[in-house]
């Protein structure tokens, strides 16, 4: 860690708003991007980015500059997003246009109809939030499992277990709807 960066982190820990602003501008894009991966909702991701940094500022006394800011911020962002997922309705309220806007281009499998995709997305939104976050980050976003584990504050084995349970519940839900994956 360079001296300048270390100074900013130490000043932030002491409640310096200018240092906090520096960190905010350095990390807001990464925090927003991480939250967007989970919510897939740009407006909610912006609100949650602010909520995350507010929690970061509130918890500054617990911050350990030696362990770096990014991982700590990501963990707080994941916790804030989990709280948001728990509070919101289970059904996806996002339009197809919004989802298409945030999604990267991908090669659609012609064997999977638009109706199956829609039902799968809705069934996925009904999963318990802690399983959904693990599956979103590890399966859909293909983030390294150790990063997912660090963000969720659990072990890699627990991430694998949550992903397994998410996929199993998703399959059961689809089978109840007459879809055999």
């Amino acid at each position: 860690m360079q001296n300048g960066e270390s100074d900013v982190l130490n000043q932030f820990q002491q409640g310096d708003v200018a240092a906090f602003e520096t960190l905010f501008h350095q990390h807001q894009r990464a925090v927003y991007g991480w939250i967007l991966r989970i919510t897939r909702n740009p407006a909610a991701a912006e609100d949650l980015t602010i909520e995350t940094f507010w929690r970061i500022f509130s918890a500054r006394a617990r911050f350990d500059p030696a362990r770096g800011f990014e991982g700590w911020a990501r963990r707080i962002a994941t916790r804030a997003t989990l709280d948001w997922l728990r509070a919101k309705k289970t059904e996806s309220e996002l339009s197809a246009e919004t989802l298409a806007e945030v999604a990267a281009p991908f090669e659609a499998d012609p064997a999977v109809t638009a109706e199956i995709r829609r039902k799968t997305a809705i069934a996925f939104s009904r999963l318990p939030p802690k399983l959904r976050i693990a599956a979103t980050l590890a399966v859909i976003e293909e983030q390294p499992q150790k990063d997912v584990a660090a963000a969720l504050g659990i072990s890699v084995a627990a991430v694998k277990l949550r992903v397994f349970r998410a996929l199993r519940l998703l399959r059961k839900d689809l089978e109840r709807q007459g879809i055999t994956p």
Partner: protein, 79 residues
């Protein structure tokens, strides 16, 4: 659910919900909104230790494990 089933479910999920673009960024600078938030809601005071219910929860968990070791796998499953 075996490995093939898991892979099939993963592919279906990726088809239903493609990954988010890597270059996503907020539509605006969020700092002004952050400042408003800091002004209107003072940061919560720091917790200096465990709340009483954290201690009660931990004690309950220890008692459960001590009297019923068979509950350990169930507790680990829900962690």
């Amino acid at each position: 659910m075996n490995k093939d089933d898991q892979n099939r479910m993963k592919k279906l999920l990726q088809q239903a919900l493609p990954p988010v673009k890597d270059d996503s960024e907020p539509s605006r600078d969020l700092w002004p909104a952050m400042l408003r938030r800091l002004d209107t809601r003072p940061a919560a005071p720091e917790l200096t230790g465990w709340a009483w219910f954290d201690g009660a929860l931990a004690a309950g968990l220890v008692a459960l494990i001590a009297f019923s070791p068979a509950s350990i796998p169930v507790i680990l499953y829900y962690l």
